[in-house]
């Protein structure tokens, strides 16, 4: 371990230069090139916007907070909690259920369904919300009147359904890998010892995949909490809606930052509870269990039930909303060409995926072997996922202006390097926002590698870098590629930070679609949204190639 004795608190990281912990860290760096230390440093850099957010929050007055506490805060908090629980719960149910069916049973269409079940992740939440609302609201094809059998997709339940149905693949992906990695040995053993299928599921299979399910559901809940587009459109008053209002109606970025910090702490608390629930259990995999295991063949009505269960989320999350858009796009003459937006989207996604790979890997090292300070920095970076995109972008803008001013002072040049309008600013924003998505799979991949392997390699004379290159990377490659793909898809769908920070002539499909939709021209938004889906789907499908054998 490093000689860092005093882990620093979150609030005291802001003035880094000159503090003794940093000096010691720098000295340590000089002696060792442990990837964990590099990871700590990178995590700190990308956590900087969150630190800027904290500074912003604590420099404002409490005027808005007092007003909102007296009027709507309780409602905001209840809606947020409800949305997180319902979205996360629905995603856990659908994702785990789907993963269970396709890994444990053999039925007609199983392998293709196992592949298709991931695809709803390609649908941005706001696209699904617009499309479903269009179908079920007055004037829509599925509208059956205010008391009809088909409810209008709106409010808390509607928004939860949208998040659950478009984000459950996070849970599905992780749960499927976990079910496959642990094989059926434990399950068969439990059944042999007399446990019924339900008891075996509850007492053996579910505890084994619990970390995966919890991590996936946490991602879903965090994304739902930070969302503005879906919740505002469907009329759910969450904390994020309050945050955006603090800023847009009250012109008070500090008040927005204060509410955002509350949301951040709530998220950290939830993540902490999840970690504590996981406890000290280490889920290193059993090397012998990776053999291809036999799935129980089912047919007849059982197979039909399994097929229907797998088709449901696919139909509701992808086929219906995308089909509705496709019909609209066919009937509508496009107002502007989509090619420039397509190029911009692809460029941003590729660049971000590459960066995420780097950051995810080194951060995972910081978690695995780093100093406590490093682990805290990474957790802070992960919490960035729960900061609403608009607020994150403002924090980043504030931070970049500071950096630019500092560069201008020291370098004597006022080169417009990093303030708004530069691709670098946008890429930086994506990383600090989506690091959580990159770190989780990387962390899971590295956690599965037994520490004995490290020790063996070190004893055989390998350097830490050598261990990383020759032992860890080959073993963790799939997890790392998953991280890159997930971030790529997230970046393609991302809206607020892109709108705020993008260079003037860089168009993206998400921004184009949003502009039309916010102008209430859904038919014009349909084409860019469909193109976005068309490139997100193969990227999402590639996740399937990365499953364990």
């Amino acid at each position: 371990m490093t000689p860092m004795a005093q882990p620093q608190g979150v609030g005291t990281d802001a003035p880094p230069a000159g503090t003794s912990a940093w000096m010691r860290l720098a000295r340590t760096m000089g002696r060792r090139s442990d990837p964990a230390i590099v990871g700590t440093l990178i995590a700190l850099v990308f956590a900087a916007p969150i630190i800027a957010l904290l500074v912003l929050a604590f420099t404002g007055d409490a005027d808005y907070l007092e007003h909102i506490a007296a009027t709507r805060l309780a409602g905001f908090a209840t809606s947020s909690a409800g949305l997180a629980i319902l979205s996360g719960g629905l995603a856990a149910l659908v994702g785990t259920g789907g993963a269970w069916l396709v890994t444990q049973y053999e039925f007609a269409g199983r392998s293709i369904l196992s592949w298709l079940l991931l695809l709803p992740l390609a649908v941005p939440g706001y696209v699904a919300a617009y499309s479903w609302y269009d179908l079920t609201a007055p004037g829509g094809h599925f509208y059956t009147g205010p008391d009809g059998p088909v409810p209008t997709i709106s409010g808390l339940w509607g928004a939860s359904a949208i998040f659950g149905l478009t984000l459950y693949p996070y849970v599905y992906l992780l749960a499927r890998n976990a079910f496959e990695a642990h094989g059926r040995a434990s399950w068969d053993m439990a059944r042999c010892l007399g446990a019924g299928p339900l008891a075996a599921l509850r007492r053996v299979a579910l505890p084994l995949v619990w970390p995966a399910v919890a991590a996936g559901s946490a991602l879903v809940a965090m994304e739902a909490l930070a969302d503005y587009g879906v919740t505002d459109f469907l009329g759910v008053g969450t904390l994020t809606v309050g945050i955006v209002r603090a800023w847009s109606s009250f012109g008070d970025p500090q008040a927005a930052a204060q509410l955002a910090v509350m949301l951040l702490f709530a998220t950290l608390l939830a993540l902490g509870i999840e970690r504590m629930a996981r406890g000290r259990r280490q889920f290193a995999e059993n090397p012998g269990s990776r053999r291809a295991h036999a799935r129980t063949p089912i047919n007849g009505w059982r197979a039909l039930v399994a097929q229907t269960a797998c088709l449901m989320p696919l139909t509701l999350g992808l086929i219906i909303p995308a089909g509705n858009l496709a019909l609209m796009a066919i009937e509508t003459q496009p107002a502007r060409p989509v090619m420039p937006a397509l190029q911009g989207t692809l460029f941003l996604a590729l660049a971000s995926a590459g960066l995420a790979l780097l950051i995810g890997t080194v951060s995972a090292y910081a978690l695995r072997a780093g100093p406590r300070f490093g682990r805290m920095a990474v957790r802070l970076l992960q919490a960035g996922y729960a900061v609403p995109g608009a607020v994150a972008a403002i924090a980043i803008l504030a931070l970049l202006v500071l950096v630019q001013d500092a560069l201008g002072t020291f370098g004597g040049s006022s080169a417009p390097l990093i303030t708004g309008g530069s691709i670098l600013a946008l890429l930086f924003a994506y990383q600090s926002r989506f690091a959580a998505v990159a770190i989780l799979p990387c962390e899971n991949a590295l956690l599965k590698i037994r520490r004995e392997l490290d020790e063996a390699a070190r004893m055989l004379g390998s350097s830490p870098a050598g261990v990383m290159r020759r032992v860890h990377l080959p073993l963790a490659a799939r997890g790392l590629a998953t991280a890159a793909l997930l971030v790529g898809v997230e970046v393609m769908k991302e809206l607020p930070a892109t709108m705020i920070l993008r260079p003037f002539d860089l168009e993206t499909l998400a921004v184009t679609a949003h502009n039309y939709a916010s102008d209430e021209r859904l038919a014009q938004a349909a084409l860019p949204a469909l193109v976005l889906l068309t490139i997100c789907i193969p990227a999402t499908a590639m996740l399937n190639l990365l499953r364990v054998r």
Binding site: T71, P138, P253, V401, I500, D505, D519
Partner: protein, 365 residues
């Protein structure tokens, strides 16, 4: 927009190679991305941009066909190149502040009159002296020192079901709070800037107490929790979920033109009591650090010319700021004459925060 040339001074930073250079010159954002990386790695500084290269930088919250047509017409008329940054509402103001030195806008365009006022409070505009603009616009549609000029107007109106509501019941915004309408009103959430500006204007006319009572009254008359956009409120009236929707006039005009079947049996009411119908102004001003203030002034004058003004009603169904302009739009022509509330921008802008507070207290979600 139009092609842009790769500037000689900047090209020295990037690796050479024919295909690569061609790609760079065709894709400016990619060029800057490479340049930025190059700058960081090689620490070479970029050439200063030529301030008078005939490029007009516009930061706008508008992303409508009328505006794209306007840029194109302006480029053709003057030979200038228009570069556009689009961002919604307050994001635009933050972005302008952040880019003040690196990419200062020549023209800033907002869609809400309160935001025009806020942007002005932040010092984002510079005064523009134009006898032409003063002559074209009434005093209520421009800043007294020429910080900004109105381009278009949007009326906050009521759309109602003719068979269920009598037009005479809707000649005043106050009517929406009448007990008779309990469970019959559809409106967007109180976060909608158009609802906020309407209440801000009512605060100016009625005082805080009456405006607050009104907001509570309307909130308890809502037929369903606010959801969707203005068009969705109109469709809800058509479907019978409510009888009256509080919306901007151009959504109704658009449906009239593009989807007349969807608004059959519906009519539009422009309140006439008191100061008349609340109008929200979308406007433009010359940026405080503009590189090309003259070109910026020319652009605003072009937008307020007969040729520029008619694009707004014809392509976006907004009312032109210049009252004398003639245009071709059957939906707008079918609307009755109405009284436009000439309330000055600062009254609306300064009351917006209070309006949001009143909405929060009233329990209007």
């Amino acid at each position: 927009m139009a092609d842009r040339q790769l500037q000689a001074g900047q090209a020295t930073c990037v690796p050479s190679g024919k295909g690569f250079a061609e790609r760079l010159s065709a894709t400016p954002w990619l060029r800057r991305a490479v340049l930025s990386f190059g700058l960081v790695l090689a620490a070479c500084s970029p050439a200063e941009q030529d301030p008078s290269d005939g490029t007009l930088t516009i930061y706008t919250s508008r992303h409508y066909d009328s505006d794209y047509a306007l840029y194109e017409a302006f480029e053709q008329a003057t030979g200038a190149t228009v570069e556009v940054v689009e961002a919604d509402g307050d994001l635009l103001i933050e972005r302008v502040k952040a880019d003040a030195t690196s990419n200062p806008p020549d023209v800033i365009v907002t869609v809400d009159v309160g935001r025009l006022w806020h942007a002005d409070q932040e010092g984002l505009f510079q005064p523009t002296d134009s006898a032409l603009l003063v002559e074209r616009l009434p005093a209520s549609l421009r800043h007294p020192e020429g910080h900004w000029f109105g381009l278009t107007q949007r009326a906050r109106v009521m759309v109602y079901a003719e068979d269920r509501v009598d037009a005479a019941e809707l000649d005043d915004y106050a009517n929406l709070a009448d007990q008779a309408f309990e469970g019959h009103i559809c409106a967007r959430s109180s976060g909608s800037i158009y609802n906020i500006s309407l209440l801000a204007s009512l605060i100016a006319h009625w005082g805080e107490e009456r405006a607050s009572t009104w907001a509570s009254g309307v909130a308890s008359n809502l037929a369903r929790p606010p959801q969707g956009g203005d068009t969705d409120q109109i469709r809800a009236v058509a479907a019978g979920e409510c009888d009256v929707a509080l919306v901007n006039h151009y959504y109704f005009a658009r449906l009239l033109r593009e989807e007349p079947a969807a608004v059959e049996g519906l009519a539009i009411a422009f309140p006439s009591a008191g100061a008349g119908t609340h109008m929200n102004t979308s406007g433009a001003g010359v940026g405080a650090n503009a590189r090309n203030p003259d070109l910026a002034r020319q652009f605003i004058e072009f937008a307020l010319s007969d040729e520029g003004q008619r694009l707004f009603p014809e392509l976006t169904n907004e009312f032109p700021a210049v009252a004398s302009v003639t245009y071709d739009n059957a939906a707008l022509a079918s609307f009755p004459d109405f009284i436009r509330d000439p309330l000055p921008a600062e009254q609306i802008g300064a009351n917006q925060e209070l309006a949001q507070r009143l909405f929060d207290r009233a329990g209007w979600p």
